[in-house]
């Protein structure tokens, strides 16, 4: 059985929130559109590679998260403020959809060390499921 509950990489953990890497995940739209492949096991002890590799994986995920906060969201805000100024239209605007629809395209998911540990057959199965889920 394959468990996809940790498929999407986590946000940067926040001190005081226990196991936040299990509950606060990046949106698929962001992971797909981000320029680098991201590791699902970042910021967690599920990573089994070398210390450098772990740090690099976590750093990439942190960069993606910051990219969203510092670039994508401000861009979205600027765009919205510029395009919609009528109070009634603003009141009816679907914020959820706008937030979710950030980013386009698709980038591969980085081979995490735990993925490397899978047998060849399991990898194909996992990738097959990923393709289906996309």
């Amino acid at each position: 059985m394959l468990d996809f509950s940790r498929l999407w990489p986590p946000e940067i953990p926040k001190p005081g929130v226990r196991a936040s890497f299990l509950i606060r995940k990046l949106r698929p739209e962001l992971v797909r559109s981000y320029s680098k492949p991201l590791c699902s096991d970042a910021f967690s002890r599920f990573q089994t590679g070398s210390a450098e590799e772990k740090a690099e994986n976590s750093q990439d995920v942190a960069d993606a998260f910051l990219h969203m906060l510092k670039e994508l969201i401000p861009t979205l805000v600027a765009k919205l403020q510029k395009e919609i100024s009528d109070p009634e239209s603003i009141a009816k605007f679907n914020v959820t959809e706008a937030l979710h629809e950030q980013g386009k395209g698709c980038s591969p998911i980085r081979s995490s060390s735990s993925f490397d540990d899978l047998s060849c057959r399991d990898k194909y199965a996992a990738l097959g499921c990923l393709v289906v889920s996309f």
Binding site: V17, V77, L99
Partner: protein
Amino acid sequence: MRHLGVLWCHFDNKDWKNRVLTEAVFRVAKNTIQTLMRRAMKTLQFVNDEPYIRLIVDYVNLLFGDTEESAAYWKTELRWNLEKNFFYVGDCTKHLKRIVKKDFKEHVSLVSILERLPGKLGFQVNEEFMQKIRTQGFFRRAVVVKEQDLLGLEPVVTSGLTEQPRAFALYEQVIIFPHQFRYPDLSSIKAFFTDDKHFATRDDLLKKTTQTLARTAKPLSSNHFLTFRLWSKAVIALSDEEFLKAFPAYVAYAKWLFGLKILQPTEGLSEETWRSFVLEFVKDYLWMVLGLYERCYSSLASIELRDPRYDENTIQLYQDFLDPALLVLSALPSAQAVIGEGLSALLEPERPTNVYENLNFVGFDFLSERKWADVFDYIGRQLKRNGGGMRELRIVECTRLDTSILGPLLGPMLTTLEIVGPSWLPLFPSICSQCRNLRRLVLSSRRDYSIPDDWVQQLMATMHDSLRELSLSGHLAYVEGVGSLGADCLLANLELLSCESATDLFAKEFQMPNLRSLSISESRGYSFKGCPALRSFTVRGYIRDTDMLEVCQRLAESCPLSEEIQFPDGWLAIEQLEALSSSEAICKNLRKISVNQFRPLEGGNEDDLCLAHETLVLRLLSTKFSSITHLSVTTGLSKVPENQGELLQSLLSSPGSDNPKLPLEYLLVSPGRGVTGWLSFLHQFKDTLKEVALPGDVTDEHVSELGDLLTGIEAVDLSATLLTISGLKRLLSSLRSLTLVRLPSALCRGEKLAAALIAIMPILGTQVRTVFANIDCLVNEGLGHPQSAWPRLLELRKGAVLPVQVVIEGIDNSRAKLTGALGREDDIIDGFDALIVRRLYPGSDQSAAKLRLNFIQSLHWEGNTMA
């Protein structure tokens, strides 16, 4: 959405800021109400609208009311929720705190939040109220909403589901409806409700379920069979009044399924999946035939007694529900045949098949005379189309059949014909003239009184060469000078004979060299010289001691191959056993002895003599008859119950004795006491015993030892024991070969039964088919009665999904529940899946409903095995 806070910080525009913060507050409010409702549901176990409406009203007033509590709530709990869920990144929290200090509510649109909440949470608000909330200053009041503004609650089904699945959600509501709140006539319950309109009863919700299904089942269902199952569950649990209203639409849908849907597989489904869908439907349908019969008629008794509450139309609707093709499918001789060839014949009507040539109508008591005609008309057409003829036909316990309609099915191809229950006399001339190749003929009815004296000769005139097995519910006489067959060859080919009496024939020493089995009711004047191959002899009625002695002497003289001797109403004495033991061959061959009791010796202290005599009989049995596997003493062993354990020691081989141990498999005696002796007995026979009734002084402290001794046991009667639920659990979990169990009577009284069933279900082995519970009184209302909660038993079995029959036996009535009768969910409201299984006539252990339930159960079992 977790970054609404970041978004909010980046906006400069006031309207945009307001929009984003409104979204965040709306989400917190929605989640808070949902959490509160879930928590309330868990504590209250209460699905009625009333408490949840109060809860919503209270929270909405707290959130929107112009009160100090509301302000405090926004500044503390709501703010904390916003921070935790949406404002946790970077400086967001700091920014939020700034506005919280001022008037927080000014920064959000309260109207927008209140407008969206009903839709998201599934509560209806009256229109007038919704218009009012847009008026200036509306939120400057302490009480924003009152209970009367809320019209009701409906389950919200997400994931894009439409109206059709709402019916499932409604039904689920009723399932978790607390038992004591289900019935509207309980005034004490009504007192809980401030307003009658919020008092939705079990029936209200079921009514909504059936109404929704009536609207949506055909056009919107993605699985019409699953919808049929849900509809069946809902309709069977409705009150009489609502049932009558909902029944026509249900029958119309069922008929639409039979006529059209079965033959048109859903696009994209493999043939195998489609067959499995249809099989599930067939099982549901067959159960509903019984369930609806119980609703429409007062009982499943043999006398047609319609419930006065149901009019002609309802009865007609029920008969319309009975579909010949599906009923004939369930008349196939085995579950395997249904799942294999039977389903193929149903799904591909054009395909040639010989499946209809062998049919077994057992317990089809629900068919009216007219419907029988339809069924046989259907069979006739199928046989004609396939160019075949009926080969084997069994009709057992079908009281409403006029057998004259069977005429067209008779013919030279028929090899087996059994008619048990309905009168067969109208058919008799046709049987004699047309069935020349019958091998087995069973004709038994309690209605045929004017049978001609020479009827055996009439039968044998045509089927003398073929007939091997003959069972008749009449007296066999021989009329001199009638027919061409004389006494020497009239019954010469018979291997099995069962009748009321055949004194005439046996007195004349008819030659029956091939006869293996003889079963009669009268036992005088028998000579077995003409039947040396006899292996099984039964006297069904009372037999006097002297007659029994004579029978035993004659068997010993003439029938050395005797294996089974049964006198269910006879009292066995040492003389009879000695007479039998005079034949060495019988001593070697005899396997089964079944008697009512052992006759006590006469004179002296009765109890002592009884014990002495029984000891002698058992000792003789164990020393002389080395092949006995089956010993049945119906009324019981030992007049003094305490002596039973001691008495059984007589069956043990003495130390150093040359006598081999008996290969005893079945010891059927009414349980007495004497656990120590019983345990020694079980030690000796633990390798061979398969069925046993344990004594009345078995307690929990014997469980460990019994667990080791009964590992090979297939059926165990614990009704007399003093086991507690914990002891019962421990014992049953160690019996891995068990298929049938009778629960201790002490655990079957009142509420204890449900507790015992809940405790044992999870640990019963997967092979257990039947659980019996004996109670002291009639149980017309026992199972499924509103005042007794009924557990979801199949659910408790965890992984072992094979249905079990739970039979609650009363004095002259019983009720049987087939777990998971309508699907593995096992969730029919109030146990309406338990059926009355009334005996067809006094003294009979047959019940039409029970026979049908057994067949449905084997369909479930076979279906699972094949899957």
